[in-house]
């Protein structure tokens, strides 16, 4: 709508914000250092709105907490837009100057009254009104969101709704005011920036754009495919269907990380004819590998990571990789050569970066040499070697000229609870572990804090089902069954349960739904229907044993 998926503000702008709207982000656990900046803003007097199905830690500090039903974000956000429009709180100058399509959104949100929204979301109408008012009327108001917004079959719609709020209030292009997806992994921003994308070459240059393709064909000396590729979720479905038969997987445990994991395992076994894994630890995926190439961890190689606020920073080699393991960039060069391609003999990642920068206007001014001098890193866009980088995006209006409003209608989540699977499961991350936990499960403190999988549930659900805290139960969805320890928690809504996604021996992604968002194909990790069965005859619908 107004540019690439990246924070429009910088992390250090958070402390000066006067309003933080945190939605679908358990910031204190998933981005603890950004949460410290939020806490600093709050201690300074900034207002905080939190919307989340779980009463997360930040909710305790919030001025307004909207504990919505999972998957009802569109209702909440459209109702906030409705209030802002009907109470005349829009920034009409900004709308006229920098946007298009406001009338569509005005018409579409007319029926999303706070009272109706209360029925769907469970958040009180008066709180929705209040949240809309303080968001619209506070100058330095920033939105912070993460996968609680995007991991839905309507994830793109959720993002559109947030962007509509930003555009109608003009909270863009200013310090501490903007729209900020907090990126989940150290270099997820950098991987996208570098073109690890089925539709973009490095720097978001479209593969279907002929002039871009020509440029890369010339640089690389080969003809390139004009067709968009498959994104990861589609790729995994293609493996299941037998359409993709060879995979090269570097640094990801696709089996533990992708939704509906058991079908994927069958696909890897029966359809995938060749699988290369480049990894630092064995994981579930390497069990299926034909060749395993031992790579290097971050402390063993040089390069750059790009963080959430588009900041390119150096990674420096501190120690050698263990045994015969090698730096991943060296492995990739050798693999390309063995495949018959004249990959240049790059002496260092610095030379690889220079090749990319020469083809990528967004980072054309960045080099390892400049990063040695800039201790804080450089934030793209940074188009030439004299450019200081860009802390805040859209200062001179939206990058694309005019930003489009997108009218959005509510669609329910793909799988809703029913008699057989009566609870709504959401999944996520805890502070003490990281993703597939290959690193953190080897760490004493992380394991001492959380050593096994758990299912968080409201006391009322636990009592109704006859569970006590700490009891081992089975969690069952249409796709799989895993065990977990009951954690009775005041953070949960009645009817909703939550599990972390870290544990290999009890994989939440055996349960989750791989139904994808129509635009991004992102799986619906945040909503699927489950039932919980006890081991002693308690719980809902015990299987006959």
């Amino acid at each position: 709508m107004f540019g690439a998926g990246a924070m429009t503000n910088s992390i250090d702008e958070i402390r000066d914000a006067d309003l933080l709207f945190v939605t679908g982000s358990n910031t204190t656990e998933a981005h603890p250092i950004i949460a410290m900046e939020m806490k600093r803003a709050i201690q300074r007097g900034a207002k905080l709105i939190v919307s989340d199905p779980r009463k997360i830690w930040l909710a305790d500090m919030a001025d307004i907490f909207l504990q919505i039903r999972p998957g009802t974000d569109v209702w909440l956000l459209n109702a906030m837009a409705n209030v802002i429009i009907s109470e005349g709180l829009t920034d009409d100058d900004f709308i006229a100057r920098s946007t298009e399509g406001f009338e569509k959104v005005k018409a579409a949100t007319a029926k999303y009254s706070p009272e109706e929204a209360e029925k769907v979301t469970g958040a009180p109408a008066e709180l929705i009104r209040e949240a809309a008012r303080i968001y619209a009327t506070t100058e330095k108001a920033g939105i912070y969101y993460t996968l609680g917004i995007t991991e839905h079959t309507h994830g793109t719609d959720n993002v559109y709704c947030l962007a509509n709020l930003v555009l109608m209030t003009g909270h863009l292009g200013k310090r501490s005011a903007g729209m900020n997806p907090l990126r989940g992994q150290n270099n997820v921003q950098g991987a996208n920036d570098a073109g690890a994308s089925p539709i973009f070459y490095p720097g978001y240059q479209n593969v279907t754009d002929e002039s871009a393709r020509k440029k890369f064909e010339e640089a690389w000396g080969v003809e390139l495919s004009p067709n968009e590729g498959q994104n990861l979720n589609v790729m995994m479905k293609s493996v299941i269907k037998g359409k993709i038969r060879g995979l090269y997987v570097m640094g990801e445990d696709i089996v533990i990380s992708e939704p509906n994991a058991s079908k994927l395992e069958v696909g890897l076994n029966e359809n995938c004819e060749f699988l290369v894994c480049q990894e630092i630890f064995h994981n579930v995926t390497t069990r299926f590998a034909d060749v395993v190439l031992p790579g290097a961890c971050f402390a063993e190689k040089d390069g750059v990571f790009t963080n959430s606020d588009r900041r390119v920073q150096r990674v420096r080699k501190a120690v050698d990789p263990p045994g015969n393991a090698r730096e991943d960039w060296r492995i990739l060069i050798d693999f390309a050569k063995a495949s018959g391609y004249p990959m240049p003999d790059y002496a260092s990642p610095s030379e690889i970066y220079d090749e990319m920068a020469a083809l990528t206007p967004k980072v054309a001014g960045i080099s390892h040499r400049r990063l040695e001098e800039n201790i804080m890193g450089l934030q793209w866009p940074c188009p030439d070697p004299d450019h200081p980088g860009t802390p805040t995006l859209h200062i001179d209006g939206p990058l694309k000229g005019k930003a489009d409003f997108q009218a959005v209608e509510y669609r329910p989540s793909d799988e809703l609870p029913d008699d057989e699977y009566p609870l709504v499961l959401s999944t996520g991350r805890v502070l003490y572990h990281y993703n597939a936990a290959t690193q953190t499960r080897r760490e004493a403190g992380s394991m001492a804090k959380i050593g096994r999988n758990f299912i968080e549930m409201n006391r009322k659900d636990a009592r109704r089902l006859g569970f006590h805290d700490g009891e081992i139960v089975d969690v069952v969805s249409r796709r799989g069954r895993i065990d977990a320890e009951v954690m009775i928690s005041p953070r949960m809504r009645v009817g909703c349960v939550w599990m972390p996604m870290h544990f290999e021996e009890s994989r939440a992604n055996l349960l989750t739904n791989d139904a994808g968002d129509p635009v991004t194909q992102t799986g619906e990790y945040k909503v699927c229907a489950v039932r919980v069965e006890g081991r002693n005859g308690n719980g809902h619908k015990n299987p006959e044993r």
Partner: protein, 361 residues
């Protein structure tokens, strides 16, 4: 000069200051160093340690530079005989209640000891040592953070950090007088409190009374420090990796944050960034290339064999089914350069745009 700016004098030098600033802040900007133990730029001034006392023209008593707000025309003196006398007595009092080495100086710790540095500059008044009945929590089994009461000067930087920055309030000052100590609720171990094991208390402690259990002793003098970027979430915290040993056997022995104010994390780290580095040298690391044999098991191979097998296997699939029957999964855990190479391999070497990483999920 804007309307909220005015001149003050520090040690006779004219300095521009703004309303709301402290003496310490203006002096730091002017390059005038005022010693302190209890001050941390991330925290509200506490004026607890009394090390930063300065003379303020017109004030009868010495005043704490960290907390004293400047006003127009104020004249400050940061070094004088009077201040020096104050420091001698103050440091003497601290030393009387501190673990001392053979030379009578505060002991060196893994985290440095700023009291030792001060006592080396200004000879403290010799006083009889007191045996303070301050208690620690020796039974606390958390794997990361220990507290040594004999090194504590009760400046409360740790408890204020836990409150003001991390905002979990796991530790607090407890008891009175010489029994005052750093405590938890009910003196429980940190694992049974709201502590999130961020280790910020270790980092802010000026005397090394909070000890990193994974690295309790000072590192050897030839330890290297390598600045890098954390490999966990997307905040991009900067880390200093402390490396001991020589080529081939070198190890990351400790991780700290660069000082506050220098990098995006402002001196802060979380449990993962500060402590979760054991994986680097873990025995489970894959150390040999592996090829699956006829028996269905993975077997060690040379790099030549493995790279050739990988290229042949992927090439065979392309030959049989076409380039779009291949998928390349790159990694948001790897560097930008490696992601660039991976997409180049997918596109230029194999001819497919089926290249992605976990950002869809």
């Amino acid at each position: 000069m804007s309307s909220t700016e005015f001149d003050i004098k520090i040690n006779g030098r004219t300095c521009t200051a703004s309303k709301g600033e402290t003496v310490f802040e203006v002096a730091a900007r002017e390059g005038i160093s005022i010693p302190t133990l209890c001050h941390d730029t991330r925290l509200e001034p506490a004026g607890a340690c009394r090390v930063c006392l300065v003379e303020v023209e017109g004030q009868r008593r010495l005043e704490p530079g960290c907390a004293w707000k400047v006003s127009e025309g104020m004249e400050i003196t940061t070094e004088s005989d009077r201040i020096e006398r104050h420091r001698k007595v103050l440091y003497g009092l601290y030393l009387a209640d501190h673990d001392l080495d053979g030379e009578g100086l505060p002991v060196e710790t893994a985290n440095g000891n700023q009291l030792r540095e001060l006592a080396q500059k200004t000879k403290p008044l010799a006083l009889h040592s007191v045996d303070a009945p301050r208690v620690g929590r020796p039974e606390d089994v958390n794997p990361y953070i220990a507290f040594e009461p004999d090194l504590c000067i009760l400046c409360a930087r740790c408890t204020r950090y836990c409150d003001e920055v991390e905002a979990v309030n796991a530790i607090t000052l407890a008891n009175r007088g010489s029994e005052t100590t750093i405590a938890t609720a009910g003196m429980r171990g940190l694992l049974d409190t709201t502590c999130e094991l961020c280790g910020g208390c270790i980092d802010t402690c000026p005397t090394g009374a909070l000890i990193e259990k994974k690295s309790p002793d000072p590192l050897p003098a030839d330890a290297k420090t390598v600045r890098s970027t954390c490999n966990f979430c997307g905040v991009g915290c900067q880390l200093d990796l402390h490396v001991v040993g020589t080529n081939g056997t070198s190890r990351v022995a400790k991780v700290t944050s660069p000082p506050p104010g220098e990098t995006v994390n402002d001196g802060n780290l979380c449990i993962k960034g500060r402590f979760a580095y054991d994986f680097i040298h873990h025995e489970d690391r894959i150390t040999e290339p592996l090829i699956r044999g006829e028996d269905g098991e993975l077997h060690p191979a040379t790099w030549d064999e493995a790279i050739t097998a990988a290229a042949e296997g992927i090439g065979r699939v392309k030959e049989k089914y076409g380039a779009d029957a291949l998928g390349f999964v790159s990694s948001s855990r790897c560097t930008g350069e490696e992601n660039y190479l991976m997409q180049k391999i997918s596109r230029a070497v194999y001819g497919t745009n089926n290249i992605h990483q976990c950002s869809a999920t």
